[in-house]
């Protein structure tokens, strides 16, 4: 637990430009290593478990987390509506 805290705090304690630079650097490394994939080579990418969004079965989980936690959004799900009162 403390281990995860140390690392999240390390990242949060960095200044905004440093955080942005690290994020942009990681994204650049990822994108620059891209190779062109032909349609017939996409069988693994087209596997139903490879989708880059939430699955239907996760919907209720995301719903209760958006009520029980202060953060929401950036997960292609609902980002408003409903009161979540209890």
């Amino acid at each position: 637990m403390n281990f995860s805290f140390r690392y999240t705090n390390y990242f949060t304690n960095l200044s905004s430009p440093a955080r942005l630079l690290i994020t942009a650097g990681l994204i650049f490394i990822c994108l620059s290593s891209c190779t062109t994939v032909k349609e017939y080579q996409k069988n693994k990418l087209n596997d139903s478990e490879m989708i880059l969004s939430n699955r239907k079965i996760e919907k209720t989980e995301l719903s209760f987390m958006s009520y029980r936690e202060g953060a929401s959004g950036a997960n292609a799900g609902k980002s408003g509506g409903g009161c979540g009162c209890n």
Partner: protein, 399 residues
Amino acid sequence: MKKITLSILALYIGVLAVFSQTKPSSDSAYRQRKLTFSEANIVSSYYSQDGNNSAITGGIGTEKLTDFSNSFSIKLTRVDKKWRKHSFDAELGIDNYTSASSDRIDLKANSSASYNDTRIYPSLNWTMEDDKKGLTWGAGASASREFDYLSFGSQVNVAKKTKNRMGEYGVKLFTYLDNLKLIYPIELRTGAFIPRGEDYPMAARNTFGSTFSYNQIINAQLQISILTDVILQQGYLGLPFHRVYFTDNSVHVEKLPDSRLKTPISIRASYFAGDHLILRGYYRYYQDDWGMTAHTISLEPVIKTTAFFSVSPFYRFYSQQATKYFAPYQQHTAANTYYTSNFDLSTFTSHFYGAGIRMAPPNGILGWQHLGALELRYGHYSRSNNMQSDIVTLNLTIK
């Protein structure tokens, strides 16, 4: 003679060409335009939580709650004259929940109408995929209704593939226009806040948001998605039945600013690590103008024992820094402009872990051809402030 021979040859080739073409029959065109059933999904889940920091009783007291949720969705598709694929999704969800803390709106009641409620939420979505242009358009509308809350949502989205079809940019604009009944704690109902029968005073809460996304195929086994939202909420953003006890033991209704700007950013990756293993990862950084920051990280390895059966254990870690308006029971003073004792807005960490199984045999579940897939998933959630919950979900896919 040569001219005649060439003319006959040209005519022959012409006739041959006409008959060798696929007949653009009205029958085939009709088949394309006809709306066809694609799949239907039934998702049922049972959620149960308990804790001891209810916002209704000022940050102390039971948070016991159960929610039985059911939704049914159906997807229809058709291809138009320009070979664009149209998908229509219709969904109806019904939740029935019980909440011990909601029962404490009236502290003297043993049990009241607030103890349970039903939420109904229908939605309709349309998507048009133009594969030739690499373009996708979409629009949708939704509604949600429960006793004290009514919400109408709408959204439009567009996505465009890059020239080499390895990436895709997307933009989504959405809005939720909500109305809530101002149900105050019994002891604080004075003046304009005294309901006349079921006629409670109303307040508005509106959400306007935009999502920007970029998906990229890295190689034949790895793809990533970067997504960011800009969400502005305006109106009554607290809840009228959340109590706050000040240091002098006086009781007040939670008071929060009437505007909140949220700016989360996330990255998601899916990696086919081998013939039997897929790794799904997700990270999100969140911040808003209420002083809250949060990190979310999750990892889900999917172990495919066969092409039709998979097991997926998962783990999610979440850490949030409290909003500047939060303080626990009897910590706020009259000097505070805004105040809440809602522990959902406090500093905490949470762990969510569990496992799911998925079966999708080619001849259907239990030999029933139409029952295409079955998924079952269980998760346990624990928060550092002692709130615990469990959720079990079943998803049946009919094809």
